[in-house]
Amino acid sequence: MKYVPLVWAAIMRKPTRAVLTLLSVMIAFTLFGLTIGMNATFTKLKAEARDDRLFAFSRFGGTLSVGMERQIESIPGVALATSSNNLFGYIQDPKNRVFVQMNDENTAKIYPEWPITAQQWQMVRDNRRGVLVSRSQADRWHLKVGDTFTVIAPVQKKADGTTNWTLQVVAITPDFFPLMAGYMFGNYDYMDKARLLSDQGKTGVFRIKLSDPSRSAAIAEDIENKFANSSTPLQSLTEKAAYDVTSNTGMDIAAVDREIALAGMFMVLFLTANGIAQAVRERFAEFATLKTIGFSDWGVIGLVFAEAAIPCLLGAGLGVGLAEVLASIIPRFVPPGQGVPVPTMTMTVLAWAVACAALVALASSALPALRLKRMDIATALSGR
């Protein structure tokens, strides 16, 4: 600790160089944070996906009859099938896009782990126009409990010909993973009964709870086969499959993220290694002086390592911090309900960043450290 002023003075010898190096390292670690953070989100999505849940939706687009619920429940291994319809629209201005998930009375049973209490679910059932609004959405649209607001949903016509859906906030509930852009949960009956008669009794997606999670993939197949020859064939996915981004896009995004982060680290490594090598070369005589007055080999090497490590670690911290800030802004630009994952800066991400920073510092100071160890003090002191 007592050598910190010494190391600091060394770094600040060329303040411009120190600042530029720090900025470069910071940018590389921002990219690191965003990419590895994205991977962390993917991992978390997969880890938290339950294998006792399935989604089923129309194979060729369009809506499905709610009556199919009973048929799905008759398949062995299925405990419960529920319906929900989505209301995509905006509040006042078309750019204020919102998405309200209209659930039926059983949906709550499918998601017991969500931080929404039974009373809160019941409030939506009791008040047909009620919605549960997540904290982030409530803040965004300045909504309080009891507020009434209107969602204009151009694709969802009501029987009276308008597209204005009036909703009332019954409770503000916490945000939770994986709904990172927030959510609004409404009452399916309200939406269904207010629509044209020909549109009623229809759902967009079935959310299914299984009683036999070990056979989830097989049950998904059974569901597809049951309706294969019907007029509305289904496509069925386990929650694990639905959250597996690689299989959904056909691209190994996690690998691409790692390669980008690696490229950034490579850039930083070169920059830092060069900087330290140059610094040691320029101040060789000074190091010789330090050795003369009693610093051990390892002491001098330690000083050099610290000189490399401080900008690296600082840059890593600032970079990941900046990545966190950028990640929190992303949901504002992404249309809601699309399920676009947002990078999260977990402890793992930070740990990896620190580890990379330390490795870069180590690699950068390795060769100069060797030179210092082998130094012939007399020659070095003479400045040659």
Binding site: F60, N229, S231, T246, G250, M251, A263
Partner: protein, 385 residues
């Protein structure tokens, strides 16, 4: 002036060898940035090139007014024959107009790796092959009109499971067998084809998505378009098929390309700081040399320019290296995104882009150090170590 610039720059480059590792910082920085950016862009560029190849300038597509994609368009049964009667359409050997009523739908498929994906299922009517002479059956047979049959493209066979002749595809109210394999040489090969009218009935649809016509010549487009757009009974958009695909391609790849540019920009900023760092160091190391030159009478401007040129040389070298790496790793690889099967591309335009970015970074990273080199008082610089 020019001669001075030349001499100072030549001197500069000769001493570059002595500053090898510092200079490599710029080269590596730009190489990493460009390698990453072009690798990411190879996906969107590949897709755009596949789209550009798909449309034939001899053909025109008719969709309902305002539709950006075929799936958004609806051409009624009544309108289809009106469109087919318009001037400018080539005729087949029976004298009938080569105008085909088309349908589009998504269809779920199983990828080779077991994951669930989807591709496009397209309906062809009686003039389907006439309008598309590049369509050849390479195995099995063509589907019969009125029958619930499909043919699959070579690209789809390569990417998806259960795409062999005899395999069945789930459609509403029944499964349709695959009876043949086709080739077209473009992205249509990633799709399944069937009979429009049969598909229309199966999917409970009442209107077509498009009408595709073969023009008498590429110049006939204007006559054809005018006849349809001035007809008060119709509300359609007419576009040359090649233009249509180009636009759809640009729209579909916009977000992917944007992502590539954003990541590239972030890395370029990192590389920029590295460049600034290196050039400041270069200028300070050459302090005495520059001062001597100026004492001898060389102007400050040639000195400044030589610094910038050095930055540009290093940056462009790095960018070309990075572009080469991206090219070697990606170009030509077969890839898939969503419903599209195509080849990744790192084209000449991408190389040019790399050089442009490198030059911009070098300019920004070289300006300040060059000013410092030019402004530093000669006497002070001569005295510096």
């Amino acid at each position: 002036m020019l001669r001075q610039i030349f001499i100072v720059t030549a001197l500069n480059f000769r001493s570059l060898v002595g500053r090898f590792w510092q200079s490599m910082v710029i080269v590596v920085g730009l190489a990493a940035t460009i390698a990453v950016m072009l690798s990411m862009l190879s996906l969107s560029t590949g897709m755009r090139e596949a789209y550009a190849k798909a449309g034939d300038p001899d053909r025109a597509i008719v969709v309902s007014k305002g539709a950006d994609q075929e799936g958004q368009s609806a051409i009624t049964r009544a309108d289809a024959p009106v469109i087919a009667d318009a001037p400018g359409i080539a005729k087949d050997k029976d004298g009938k107009p080569l105008a085909d009523r088309g349908l589009n739908s998504g269809v779920p498929v199983l990828r080779k790796d077991g994951s669930k994906g989807f591709t496009t299922m397209r309906g062809l009517a009686d003039k389907g092959q006439g309008v598309r002479p590049e369509l050849h059956i390479v195995a099995g047979r063509m589907f019969q009109p009125g029958k619930r049959e499909l043919i699959v493209g070579l690209g789809a066979q390569a990417m998806f499971q259960h795409m062999q002749i005899g395999d069945k595809v789930i459609l509403p109210a029944g499964q349709w067998p695959i009876v043949g394999v086709f080739a077209t040489g473009d992205l249509l090969e990633g799709q399944l084809l069937g009979d429009t009218e049969t598909m229309l009935a199966a999917l409970h649809k009442t209107s077509y998505n498009s009408v595709l016509v073969r023009l008498t010549s590429p110049n006939a487009l204007d006559t054809f378009k005018k006849a349809l757009t001035t007809n008060p009974a119709l509300s359609v958009t007419v576009e040359r098929h090649s233009d249509w695909y180009k636009r759809v391609g640009d729209q579909s790849t916009f977000v992917l390309a944007l992502l590539g540019y954003v990541v590239g920009a972030v890395m370029a900023v990192g590389a920029l700081f590295g460049c600034l760092n290196t050039m400041y160091a270069a200028v300070s190391v050459r302090g005495r040399e520059i001062a001597t030159l100026r004492a001898l009478g060389y102007g400050a401007f040639p000195v400044a320019v030589s610094v910038i040129l050095e930055a540009i040389l290093l940056a462009v070298t790095g960018a070309l290296l990075g572009a080469f790496i991206a090219w070697a790793l990606n170009d030509g690889k077969q890839s898939m995104f969503g419903a599209m099967v195509f080849h990744l591309s790192v084209s000449r335009a991408q190389f040019e882009l790399a050089v442009t970015w490198a030059t911009v970074v070098a300019l920004l990273g070289g300006i300040l150090p060059s000013i410092r080199a030019a402004r530093r008082p000669v006497v002070e610089a001569l005295r510096a170590t």
